[in-house]
């Protein structure tokens, strides 16, 4: 009944009654996409997860960025004129060279020249009174109410702008040290950037002296980050840290102007949840114009965006894929991006099929509907998807999932030399017995590549083919790696002192404990599969499922035995994966990221050498040696490298999966007319079944109406007293 009443009104919506966007947006040049988790932080000093970086990477510009098309991933200038000039100085301050041994380098200086004419987005923080004072530094009641809406500070009239300065980068680096900001990388950067730790102490002292007062970071000195002039920035590191260059492409090093920090420091704005953590201000291609993190976040083209062009070079195949058609076009290619929140996968998937999202991932539930795997292993979209013009892109992510062994455990790690030898053989046997290929096929719909070591594809050091094979688990046969047999696993188990899964001395069965959190890789079906796999070699598995906090606590205290974990690359360098096995990063001893507590002095020695080497054959040799060690020692079972599957509609152009960069929306383009035409074609309302349904409901009610009317016309004796 309700719906019937609404139908005439729905008819006023135009041809697509199910369009979730306002009719004014039809045919516009925007990208429509979604997010499932509300971003916790949009402050570039804090944001570290993909759900946060996906937004701010379109708004903020760190000095460097990754080339959109080239692989392997290549750093290029973003707001710089050229790549940073790197100079080394020895312990006594004399100039040194890149070839100087790392332990003799006293400091490294990165000098960067900013491009001219880079301007910030329009924003009220830059608005000034005629006398040059900030216009919106003391908001009155009306203004404070105005910013409480979804348009936030953008609701204030006459926003201003200004040129990007080197001082803005310095200011942001200082913010990393601010105790109230709590940047996740401060601990690490405090060791590298000269004076950052001391600056933090100074800020703390100022806060203690004047609690609640905004701290102006400008006058506080930071020797490690200095603006030589408005366009020249110099960052000085303690010693040598070659991976720092990658950090310069991350949001932590994006510019934040002092006046923006001061603007958001106003109590009236903080009370309204209008902060730099919710309303970013940058020089990037887009600016935030609507922020309701519970339903919709919208970015619009930054009218002040500097002259940046679409790349004209890529990797082989890019031209054929049409990825070079926009060569030299001014970026961004679209007017805006609309992110709608979809917490559930089903509505999200259906809206993609209706054309209301331009691209989509594929959930396990929708996999068979979306994808066909041929007998040769090729992956294509299903005929139904192909009929809609939907295309599929796949890419192996720069991530690794692994089953870790806690090497402090007496069974899988061992204390004495003999115990350690036996434990290593046991780990090797388990590495063979647990068949990742089968796991990927059953539980991931083939969306993964079996792990051969800690370094995933796309990262320097990873090799494919026989050179990249893990010889402990595989043999090379007929041009492909073949998993060693269960017989070999049993033989290793026997050598480890557990023939047929029983202690050679006591006869007690070998029982291993897997610590998991509920959900994800700890699901019951997965655990059942693992138990069956280990049963093949006579090993019993006990699953100790717990909540996330207790799981983390077990890792910290070293009381876990086996566990699943994964790591996504911060940057495309092998150091970012090998450090997970580096001794001084041991979880229990040092609180680092080496959860296996693997401690091999030779590996650590090679790690220190590899870290400071440029990519090339010499570095590859060192990496190969390190891989040999960790494959032999098997502190992890290298589970799999996940594959991303993304479906895109035919109207979405220039879309190329990128596992490292997040600022990619500026390169994408849409054929808005085609999208509009197809949306109309796919979403014509179907009325007759609805009419049948309404008629059915009325038919159900009709007997009741009839019975009531006939009852109403009878007297106490059942005689009709009123004619009808």
């Amino acid at each position: 009944m309700l719906a019937t009443l609404c139908l005439p009104v729905l008819a006023g919506c135009g041809s697509e009654w199910n369009d979730p966007y306002p009719s004014t947006e039809r045919g516009n040049n925007k990208i429509y996409t979604s997010f499932s988790e509300r971003p916790k932080h949009l402050d570039p000093a804090i944001a570290y997860s993909n759900s946060e970086i996906g937004f701010i990477a379109q708004i903020y510009e760190p000095p460097l960025q990754y080339h959109y098309l080239k692989r392997p991933y290549t750093l290029i200038p973003a707001t710089l004129e050229a790549m940073p000039e790197i100079r080394y100085f020895d312990q006594s301050g004399r100039p040194a060279s890149e070839a100087t041994p790392a332990d003799q380098i006293g400091r490294t200086v990165y000098r960067m020249k900013l491009r001219g004419g880079v301007q910030y987005q329009p924003h009220p923080a830059f608005s000034q009174n005629p006398d040059g004072t900030p216009r919106y530094m003391n908001l009155d009641g009306r203004q404070a109410r105005a910013v409480q809406g979804a348009a936030g500070p953008m609701a204030l009239a006459d926003p201003g702008t200004r040129l990007l300065k080197a001082q803005d980068y310095v200011y942001q680096i200082k913010r990393l040290a601010h105790p109230a900001v709590q940047s996740p990388i401060f601990g690490m950067m405090g060791e590298h950037i000269q004076g950052l730790q001391a600056l933090s102490d100074e800020i703390k002292a100022q806060i203690a002296a004047q609690p609640g007062v905004w701290v102006d970071l400008d006058p506080l000195p930071l020797p490690g980050a200095v603006a030589i002039d408005d366009r020249t920035l110099e960052i000085t590191l303690n010693g040598k840290y070659p991976q720092f260059i990658y950090w310069l492409a991350m949001n932590f090093f994006a510019p934040v102007p002092r006046e923006v920090d001061q603007f958001y420091g106003q109590p009236a704005l903080r009370r309204s949840n209008v902060r730099i953590d919710t309303w970013p201000v940058g020089t990037g291609p887009y600016m935030m114009v609507h922020n309701n993190p519970n339903s919709r976040i919208e970015l619009a083209r930054n009218p002040n965006f500097h002259d940046e062009r679409y790349p004209c070079q890529g990797e082989p195949g890019d031209a054929a894929a049409g990825l070079l058609e926009s060569c030299d076009a001014k970026l961004p290619l679209i007017d805006g991006v609309v992110f709608s929140r979809e917490k559930e996968s089903l509505p999200y998937w259906n809206k993609f099929l209706q054309g209301y999202y331009d691209e989509s991932g594929i959930s396990s539930d929708s996999f068979d509907q979306a994808v066909r795997v041929t007998v040769t292993g090729d992956v294509n979209v299903s005929p139904a998807m192909a009929a809609q013009g939907i295309r599929l892109q796949t890419s192996v992510r720069t991530s690794v999932y692994y089953l870790g062994f806690n090497l402090l455990d007496p069974v899988v790690g061992g204390k004495t030399h003999e115990e350690q030898r036996r434990a290593k053989l046991l780990r090797q046997a388990l590495s063979i017995a647990l068949d990742q290929e089968e796991f990927i096929s059953i539980f991931l719909n083939g969306r993964g590549q079996p792990g051969m070591g800690p370094i995933p594809p796309g990262i320097f050091g990873h090799q494919s083919g026989q050179a990249g094979m893990n010889p402990v688990v595989y043999t090379w046969k007929d041009g492909a790696p073949q998993r060693r047999s269960i017989k070999e696993a049993k033989a290793l188990l026997a050598q480890a002192g557990w023939p047929d899964g029983r202690d050679r001395q006591t006869g007690r069965p070998l029982v291993l404990n897997l610590d998991t959190t509920s959900g994800g890789l700890g699901d019951k079906s997965t655990m059942d599969w693992m138990s069956r796999q280990l049963n093949q070699i006579g090993v019993q598995l006990v699953v100790r499922s717990t909540d996330f906090n207790r799981f983390q606590e077990k890792l910290r205290k070293g009381s876990a035995q086996m566990y699943f974990l994964g790591w996504n690359a911060d940057y495309p360098d092998p150091e970012n994966f090998f450090f997970l096995l580096y001794g001084p990063e041991g979880k229990v001893a040092h609180g680092g990221e080496n959860t296996a507590n693997y401690n091999n002095p030779e590996f650590d020695r090679l790690f220190r050498i590899m870290v400071n080497m440029p990519n090339g054959p010499a570095r590859q040799n060192v990496i190969d040696s390190m891989l040999r060690l960790v494959r032999e020692d098997a502190p992890w079972i290298y589970w799999f490298y996940p594959k991303t599957y993304v479906l895109q509609h035919s109207w979405l152009q220039n879309f190329k999966l990128n596992n490292v960069a997040s600022n990619t929306l500026k390169y994408e383009r849409v054929d808005a007319d085609r999208r509009e035409a197809l949306r109309q074609e796919w979403n014509k309302p179907l009325l007759w079944p609805f009419a049948v349904l309404v008629a059915g409901v009325l038919a159900l009610l009709w007997p009741a109406v009839r019975a009531y009317r006939s009852r109403s016309g009878l007297d106490a004796f059942g005689n009709r007293v009123r004619g009808d």
């Binding site: 690490m188 339903s295 089903l346 179907l686």
Partner: protein
């Protein structure tokens, strides 16, 4: 009446303190302040110093209940419990652990929740009462039996099925309404609300109709109904004028108490239909170990429930003049 109200409000204070205490104890039984810090700071590159700093910045570096290093009253007031929970009585919800003002967040999310809950409540109540009265009118006939079977059928189906089924049929196949989404403009938001409201009503018809039918069946056999019929009143007047009025007390007991809680929304409906309401706010906060939001929402829920109970008592005096609140 006023004395009664004041007494009820006075009783509410220890109840709310108890609720706060239990929430606090349960939360910190499974989450330590260190766990909360790790959850907020992420699992990558978190140092013990960063955790200590996070706790100090938010006051989680204090003891939970008793501060033995403090003196006099400060032993109780300089604790996490007092700091975080007792301020709620002054109407200060504070900030969530990610720094957002909770009061502002609740105000923002309340509208969308009400936009679903209010029409669902009003239309659903009217519809189910009407259906129950109809079944009672035709009691013992095939219409009544069919109605009861249909109600049992509707009760047996999970509300998730209605949601997914409704989305599939009306939004995906018939393409009459959007699958999910929301707009804050009330003039355009309605076409996002039609389906979730309809689905919520249908999902609740079975149980409510059966319950009301039972209430009305007890009333329909009473003498006053026979007298009314003997006076020659029409069925409609007998049902709506007498049976409904006399059956209202048990209905109000279950209905009025939920009215204030309508603000809090519905988790499933809001999640699937993309409504940015309060339905999932508490659940999301528990998942994120955001104690500030959990305590605020539990407190708000308790206050609204107590208000609902008081309103229920007041409503009795309205439907039954014999009842006096003393």
């Amino acid at each position: 009446m006023l004395r009664y109200l004041l007494r009820r409000l006075f009783y509410a204070v220890p109840i709310l303190i108890g609720v706060n205490l239990i929430t606090f104890a349960l939360f910190f039984m499974v989450n330590s302040p260190d766990d909360m810090a790790r959850m907020q700071l992420g699992v990558k590159r978190v140092t013990p110093e960063a955790i200590a700093q996070w706790k100090a910045a938010r006051g989680y570096d204090k003891p939970l209940f008793i501060n033995e290093s403090a003196t006099a009253l400060q032993q109780v007031t300089d604790t996490i419990f007092f700091d975080k929970s007792m301020r709620l009585f002054a109407g200060e919800f504070g900030r969530s652990e990610d720094g957002r003002e909770i009061g502002q967040e609740i105000r923002q999310r309340m509208g969308p929740s009400l936009a679903i809950a209010l029409p669902t409540f009003v239309i659903g109540l009217g519809l189910t009462i009407s259906l129950a009265l109809m079944l009672v009118l035709f009691r013992g006939t095939w219409l009544d039996r069919t109605g009861v079977v249909l109600c049992v059928g509707l009760m047996s189906i999970s509300s998730l099925f209605f949601i997914i089924g409704g989305q599939f049929v009306f939004a995906r196949v018939l393409k009459l309404v959007p699958i999910s989404g929301y707009e804050s403009n009330p003039w355009t938001a309605w076409h996002f609300l039609v389906l979730p409201v309809a689905v919520s009503i249908v999902a609740g018809i079975g149980g409510s109709t059966r319950w009301y039918r039972t209430i009305f069946l007890e009333e329909i056999g009473r003498d006053y109904v026979r007298t009314a019929r003997a006076k020659g009143l029409s069925d409609a007047r007998v049902l709506f004028g007498h049976v409904l009025r006399n059956g209202l007390i048990p209905i109000l007991t279950g209905v009025v108490v939920v009215i204030p809680s309508l603000f809090l929304g519905s988790l499933l409906v809001e999640s699937f239909f993309g409504i940015p309401g309060l339905g999932s706010y508490t659940i999301d906060a528990i998942a994120a170990q955001d104690f500030a939001v959990v305590r605020a929402m539990v407190f708000l829920g308790s206050v609204l429930y107590l208000v609902g109970l008081i309103l229920t008592d007041l409503s009795y005096t309205w439907v039954d003049p014999r009842i006096r609140l003393k």
